[in-house]
Symmetry: C2
Subunit: 297 residues, 2 copies
């Protein structure tokens, strides 16, 4: 296997959104700049969502301005509704992400509506974003397992992917939210979605709760996925949320992909610097094995 | 993929041999009994090696007697020389393991001779063990990377495997000592060795230093390997040895294999009990992600 894989660094959003302590805006800005310095070209800078529900993302506009997101087509922000899109456009966002799930039970608890209702709600938002020339990613969470409803059928994911595609999402991110799935189940989902969406528009978004993260990334890449989400240090999860764990660590993904012969454009030492910053300044405990191994070596 | 994979639990030997503190014989016995209770049928009980160099394994004979190794064909002990074989036979060992490397530089530092000299030394030992009706495993360490000489060629591993096979080893364990290799490199070694040794006599022995352990197990199994070494909790490595990390965790391997549709005969909760024992009684910090996830869930 050779070629290039694009890493989407989600640490500044998915990694920090549930952080147990307040985060200085300056620290969020610094993290983004360290990630850029490491060669990251696509990153999730923050989110325009309810500051009451997600206080850590409240100053996303200020972060975007400080890190020059207006000029960076790879800077993405998550939005939840029309108001979020307004804010994103106001701050010059070139890429946004909307999010739904493959399980009604999860969607109802996480975003307050069924999957179908969320799709109806997002359609005009995506359309408006597209008209403004904004790149839109559609996240599908719980692609294999729902914490409330159990296993999810690959066809359910495919149907949501098709709907997101039809409304104009340029990219579909497959989120294995619980970090429980083994590679065979990832393969089943990727295969199902790939019948509806070209592989070069599918992103793998895996968490590492049960240690399957890298094996699953490997599986997705083996099947032809070329966009992989990751968070420096394995940032994410919440010490207060039972069972939650972070995204697969950028260091680990990059280490593996380089070993497999892929180019990512990312410098491992640069990511380590970002992780060290999160550890030293934000009190995050890195879960990356590569970070630990290189610290000892 | 379906069928059965045999787990060889190496925690009581590879996991404990470098433990920073003395270990009560009773604790070693208890660990073995917890592992048996979890359904483990093959395990490395200990080693007959220099007690000066590896003091933690000094009472292996007592452990073997206490856990009934005379009656257990799956109980294996590592030996370094004729004297080790004498001790193993004295205690009724039904299975032993000898060890060499694929790199001269590593063999010279680890066992004090070149690979070729170690093979010459082991040949009569293996022959004598076989005559006594003892199963013999041959370990090959540094199958992809040597800490002193860099990358190792797959053909070098194949040649050592062939020599171990020729002297009568019933099984060849491929040890990725540094835990650095990505799955493509594991595939290259397995493919090379499989040209000389049937897959059902090859065991995968991987460490998790750079987080590649599970992806590498998955790769080996995908290629047809059906014997996998693991240590409860990810036991192993040494807090005083820079860069060292433990074996891939039994919980994580079993979780993945069951998810992939393989039978192992091993009960995850039973392994967790063994890991809890190591944590609570031996002060080991488990590195298993499945252990952590299930503790939180």
């Amino acid at each position: 296997m050779t070629g290039a894989v694009t890493i989407v660094e989600v640490g500044p959003r998915d990694g920090l959104q549930a952080h147990p302590h307040p985060i200085e805006t300056a620290a969020r800005i610094k993290l983004v700049s360290l990630l850029r310095k490491a060669g990251v070209r696509r990153l999730e800078v923050g989110a325009f969502v309810s500051p009451a529900r997600v206080p850590r993302m409240a100053d996303t506009g200020a972060v975007m301005e400080a890190v020059g997101s207006r000029e960076e087509p790879g800077d993405m922000v998550l939005i939840a509704n029309e108001r979020g899109l307004d804010q994103a456009l106001e701050h010059g966002a070139r890429a946004i992400a909307v999010f739904t799930a493959a399980s009604d039970a999860f969607a109802e608890r996480n975003i307050g509506s069924t999957v179908a209702a969320s799709l109806d709600r997002f359609a005009p938002i995506v359309s408006r974003a597209r008209s403004a020339g904004v790149f839109v990613r559609g996240y599908i969470s719980t692609i294999t397992d729902c914490p409330y409803a159990g296993p999810v059928e690959p066809d359910a994911v495919k149907n949501v992917a098709r709907a997101l595609d039809a409304m104009g999402c340029a990219e579909i991110a497959l989120g294995e939210t619980l970090g429980r799935a083994t590679p065979n189940r990832i393969a089943a989902v990727v295969d199902a979605v790939a019948t509806a969406i070209p592989l070069d528009r599918i992103a793998a978004h895996f968490h590492d709760t049960y240690g399957m993260g890298l094996a699953n990334v490997r599986e997705a890449v083996r099947l032809g996925v070329r966009t992989v989400d990751a968070a420096a240090g394995g940032l994410g999860g919440c010490p207060f949320a039972p069972g939650a764990a972070g995204n697969v660590a950028t260091e680990d993904v990059v280490y593996m992909l380089h070993g497999l012969g892929f180019e990512t454009g990312i410098d491992l030492d640069g990511i380590r610097a970002a992780t060290r910053f999160c550890r030293d300044e934000l009190g995050v405990v890195p879960t990356s094995r590569v970070f630990a191994a290189m610290a000892k070596a």
